[in-house]
């Protein structure tokens, strides 16, 4: 069984068709990249997968479970986690609190009122902070972190829930080459625990870390394959690579 199956998904906004019968799939522990020129429908497709918008037509299956019409919280409970394009972390909270917010999301209110899981989560917070190079900043406010660290914090928050599928919307946007290289290592490490779908503009980054790449153009998937296959594809060359 595939981890994620997006079958002929269409998303229309009035008369505009942003995504047109797009199909992709992700296997367990696979990193799949979604690329395409601006306005090609990458973000819309990602949003239909994560539940920010509901697909007009088609079907989305997560480990065989139909999540097409589910709310984001139900998809999160089913094992999906997302890092947004602009890091959406809690700037007025410390790094520790940010991680705790993510860790306790699926706890019942009653359990939260009794601080039942605090000790259990403390160990996990330390592990995540070490893994994402945030150990020295646990008690710092998230707003004091650098841009790259804020992006890592959001990925760490996404990974905190032990997702089966991690969605990353432009994870390296605005990063320095060093931060970008470190992010590649972090994502590869994350893929040992779950499948990863990345929307990214940085083609070199995508080629470096993805097992497979799908190319979107005007809402349609025009090619899917390894980076070598994509580079050779005449349609991709015509509509995308020549513009980069």
């Amino acid at each position: 069984m595939k981890l994620l199956e997006v079958n002929s998904v269409t998303k229309k906004f009035g008369a505009l068709t942003a995504v047109d019968k797009a199909s992709i799939f992700i296997n367990q522990n696979e990193i799949v990249g979604l690329i395409g020129p601006n306005g090609s429908g990458k973000s819309t497709l990602l949003h239909t997968v994560c539940g920010r918008t509901i697909a007009t037509e088609g079907q989305i299956l997560l480990q065989g479970l139909d999540i097409t019409k589910q709310d984001p919280q139900d998809r999160a409970i089913a094992g999906m986690a997302i890092k947004f394009q602009l890091a959406r972390i809690y700037l007025e909270k410390t790094v520790r609190e940010n991680l705790l917010i993510s860790l306790q999301a699926k706890e019942t209110i009653w359990s939260q009122l009794r601080n039942k899981s605090l000790a259990k989560f403390e160990e996990k917070i330390t592990t995540l902070a070490d893994e994402f190079q945030l150990a020295d900043y646990l008690n710092e406010f998230a707003k004091s972190l650098s841009h790259g660290q804020q992006q890592w914090l959001e990925i760490a928050m996404a990974m905190a829930s032990d997702p089966i599928l991690l969605l990353l919307d432009e994870p390296t946007a605005g990063m320095s080459p060093k931060e970008r290289a470190d992010t590649a290592i972090l994502i590869k490490k994350a893929s040992k625990k779950c499948g990863v779908l990345i929307v990214e503009h940085d083609l070199d980054f995508i080629k470096e870390i993805c097992d497979r790449i799908s190319v979107l153009h005007q809402g349609n998937i025009i090619a899917t394959g390894t980076s070598a296959e994509i580079e050779k594809d005449p349609k991709v060359k015509e509509v995308y690579l020549t513009r980069v």
Binding site: C50, G51, R52, D71, P72, Q73, A76, I77, A81, I82, F84, R88, Y90, E92, K93, E97, L100, I101, S102, Q104, A105, K106, E107, I109, S111, Q112, L113, R114, N115, K116, S117, L118, M157, S161
Partner: protein, 279 residues
């Protein structure tokens, strides 16, 4: 005030309806004491809690179940609720119409009548201290972090798996209970209830305390409440027509120059001094 702080300050639910819930608690006590011989404060508070919780649950489900709604929607609906309740209290004979319900008897505790001003003060203060303790406990628990997560970014919280609507309904019900208890205490200490304790005026005043004191803290709004109430009586005598305008102006200035309220004043001064010294 604690009710608005829990709703708005901690969970981001900007409500103008707490005066209606405050009035509900007051009228519950007024109607019970008028139509029965019950004066036991425990029973009266329990009834106010139940009525407040039911009202909070109905309003909360209406506001928060289903898709996310904007802050403006919550403001308008709660404003309307305050307005409707005030009109109802003014016109419905069961609630005493414009005269309200006067002559509410002194409360009793274990059969002993609490009549003196000091006794009533101790009663009100004890209940207030207990509620404040519960609020502080809630805010410092893991659930406090959950409330803040929903307050600061509702959508993000949903993507982590938080059941946003359930959390907002729980907080709203709790806040409704606090407001209702406040109204019940007002009724037994003042011996009357009237429509003036239910309307938009009180709702706005409470929001003003929270804005001035500092949203997200308990002690800032308490200080603002104490200062404003202390000044209020005198100023209404000295500048009867100008004082409400000055209060409004104060609110506007606070929102522009001190958006985080009085509690942020030391940090704001420190920050501006640091900037000056670094220039």
């Amino acid at each position: 005030m604690l009710s608005v702080e829990m709703c708005w300050g901690q969970a981001g639910i900007f409500t103008f309806g707490q005066a209606a819930l405050f009035g509900l608690g007051g009228y519950t006590v007024g109607l019970i004491t008028k139509n029965s011989s019950i004066t036991d404060i425990g029973v009266l508070l329990l009834m106010a809690i139940v009525i407040g919780a039911v009202a909070g649950l109905i309003i909360g489900i209406f506001l928060f179940s289903g898709k996310r709604v904007g802050e403006l929607y919550v403001v308008l609906v709660t404003l309307a609720i305050s307005y409707i309740f005030e009109r109802l209290a003014n016109s419905w004979t069961v609630l005493g119409s414009g005269n309200g319900i006067p002559g509410i008897p002194s409360p009793t505790l274990f059969g002993m009548e609490i009549k003196s001003i000091i006794g009533l003060f101790i009663l009100a203060f004890t209940v207030f201290a207990l509620i404040l303790f519960i609020c502080i406990f809630l805010v410092n628990s893991q659930f406090g972090l959950t409330m803040n997560a929903v307050r600061d970014d509702e959508e993000r919280a949903e993507f982590f798996g938080y059941k946003r609507s359930r959390i907002q309904i729980v907080v709203f019900v709790f806040a409704a209970v606090l407001a209702s208890i406040g109204g019940a205490l007002f009724a037994v200490t003042e011996s009357f209830v009237s429509s003036s304790m239910t309307g938009l005026g009180l709702s706005t005043t409470i929001v003003l305390w929270v804005v001035l004191g500092g949203r997200g803290t308990f002690f800032g709004p308490l200080i603002a409440l104490a200062v404003l109430q202390a000044v209020n009586t005198k100023m209404q005598e000295v500048l009867p027509s100008l004082w409400p305008i000055l209060v409004g102006l104060l609110l506007v200035l606070a929102m522009i120059f001190l958006p985080k309220g009085l509690m942020s004043l030391p940090a704001t001064i420190r920050e501006s001094l640091r900037k000056k010294s670094s220039v």
